[in-house]
């Protein structure tokens, strides 16, 4: 019974039971997903202690909000990742100075982002489809969207990082989002 082997379906069932107050299911969900959510929080915060705080807050929120999880509309893992990422970003923006003191890790992350699409591990069909659609975008648009997602930064910071005017960055990402939506609907 490895945690990683939990299927989407069994995870969705467990999360549904969490929504009904089942603590055993809650523990199951935690064990199956906490490493992933920690990875997401750490990616945004670059600080283990902050990331662990966020993971803790995330599961408190999961317990309280699991009743609203709808397996027909969201996959359990994206539902959980979204909560964790949003919490991490809230934390990032409430303590910007502390988090900005990690230039080395930032540099590593930028290098990661430069990785070609074919070198990325693409686990699920949905992820593959998203990456196919992202790859249809212009390089700088794709880069801006990826930076925003992985670093949790606003338009303004994407503009700073890419040394491009704010208005230009906005139009890259907006056009990119529309193309992405069109592609995902095909």
């Amino acid at each position: 019974m490895t945690d990683a082997a939990m299927t989407r379906e069994s995870l969705a069932q467990a999360l549904t039971r969490v929504g009904q107050g089942d603590r055993s299911a809650f523990e199951t969900v935690y064990r199956a997903t906490s490493a992933k959510l920690m990875g997401v929080a750490l990616r945004i915060l670059h600080d283990r202690a902050l990331a662990e705080d966020v993971v803790q807050e995330t599961y408190v929120a999961v317990w309280n909000r699991a009743g609203s999880f709808d397996p027909g509309r969201a996959s359990p893992i994206t539902w959980l990742v979204t909560i964790a990422r949003n919490r991490a970003i809230d934390r990032l923006r409430s303590a910007p100075m502390r988090v900005r003191t990690t230039p080395v890790e930032d540099a590593i992350d930028l290098a990661d982002d430069a990785m070609p699409a074919d070198a990325r591990v693409e686990a699920a069909d949905d992820a593959r489809r998203l990456n196919v659609c992202l790859d249809e975008l212009e390089t700088r648009t794709r880069g801006a969207i990826r930076t925003a997602f992985f670093e949790g930064v606003t338009y303004e910071e994407v503009a700073e990082r890419t040394s491009a005017p704010l208005g230009t960055v906005k139009s890259w990402i907006r056009r990119g989002l529309i193309k992405l939506r069109e592609c995902l609907e095909r």
């Binding site: 019974m1 107050g21 089942d22 603590r23 055993s24 523990e27 935690y30 064990r31 906490s34 490493a35 992933k36 920690m38 990875g39 997401v40 750490l42 990331a51 662990e52 993971v55 803790q56 599961y59 408190v60 317990w63 509309r73 969201a74 996959s75 893992i77 994206t78 539902w79 990742v81 979204t82 990422r85 949003n86 970003i89 923006r93 990325r120 591990v121 693409e122 686990a123 699920a124 949905d126 992820a127 489809r129 998203l130 969207i145 990826r146 925003a148 997602f149 992985f150 930064v153 606003t154 338009y155 303004e156 994407v158 990402i173 907006r174 989002l177 529309i178 992405l180 939506r181 995902l184």
Partner: protein
């Protein structure tokens, strides 16, 4: 999900909100719309679903063992929780240990395969039928050197045995096997100890034994050898009381 498609600007705004690129003021305004307009909220949800796929490429990182107990403490606390009647410091410690240490574990720990136990009657609880870790039996096995080799805790309410081996792999390649020892002196094989700490759901076959065992033991078996269920073949390197909390 029907209905009129959203205007393109709203689809974009929902995507910007999901991506979190908006300035604080713009984000607040968009959150208001999200709260007030179900169609817009659904679009945000849809973007979350699409964009969160990017996280597939983020490698997992185990949080420390302290996180899960912190979550349960925050949510269920000690005082005022449904099981407060049968709670105490020792029990809380083991509950936290079981979930934390074996759920996450350090790379140096060893895991294992375990079996069963008869759920014991739970202490009287005047609470809703919610299942939570309710460790009733624990053991810490030390080698003759005094070094801890393995720690385990058993929760009859869920049938889970939490096992955290702490030792290095055996130099001769032998495989540690865990045994339960009954009050009458009989022993029963639980299984081989593998590479990492983890939790096992005990299967029905072993349950009567796990609820009653008074001690555990570890034998070292030659690679590829599975001893009979009632007697180790290799040397027993340690045993420990399987004490009730």
């Amino acid at each position: 999900m029907s209905a009129t498609p959203l205007p393109e600007d709203d689809i974009i705004l929902a995507g910007e909100l999901a991506l979190r690129v908006l300035s604080p003021d713009d984000e607040r305004a968009a959150r208001v719309r999200e709260a007030a307009e179900p169609a817009f909220a659904r679009e945000v949800e849809r973007w979350n679903e699409d964009l969160a796929r990017l996280a597939d490429e983020i490698p997992g990182v185990a949080p420390s063992a302290a996180v899960w107990p912190a979550v349960t403490m925050r949510l269920f606390g000690g005082r005022g929780a449904p099981t407060a009647a049968n709670d105490n410091g020792k029990l809380a410690f083991w509950r936290a240990w079981a979930v934390g240490a074996t759920g996450l574990l350090a790379a140096s720990m060893v895991g294992l395969v375990v079996l069963a136990s008869q759920p014991q009657p739970l202490p009287p609880v005047t609470a809703p039928p919610v299942v939570e870790p309710s460790i009733t039996r624990v053991a810490t096995l030390q080698l003759e050197s005094g070094e801890t080799m393995l720690t385990l805790a058993y929760d009859p309410a869920t049938g889970r045995l939490y096992v955290a081996p702490a030792g290095e792999a055996d130099a001769e390649g032998r495989v540690p096997h865990l045994w339960l020892m009954a009050p009458d002196g009989g022993v029963r094989l639980v299984g081989a100890v593998g590479g990492e700490a983890h939790t096992m759901e005990l299967d029905a076959g072993l349950r009567p034994m796990a609820g009653q065992a008074t001690a555990i033991a570890i034998s070292m078996e030659a690679p590829g050898v599975t001893p009979p269920a009632d007697a180790p073949l290799g040397p027993v390197v340690g045993s420990a009381e399987f004490s009730e909390l």
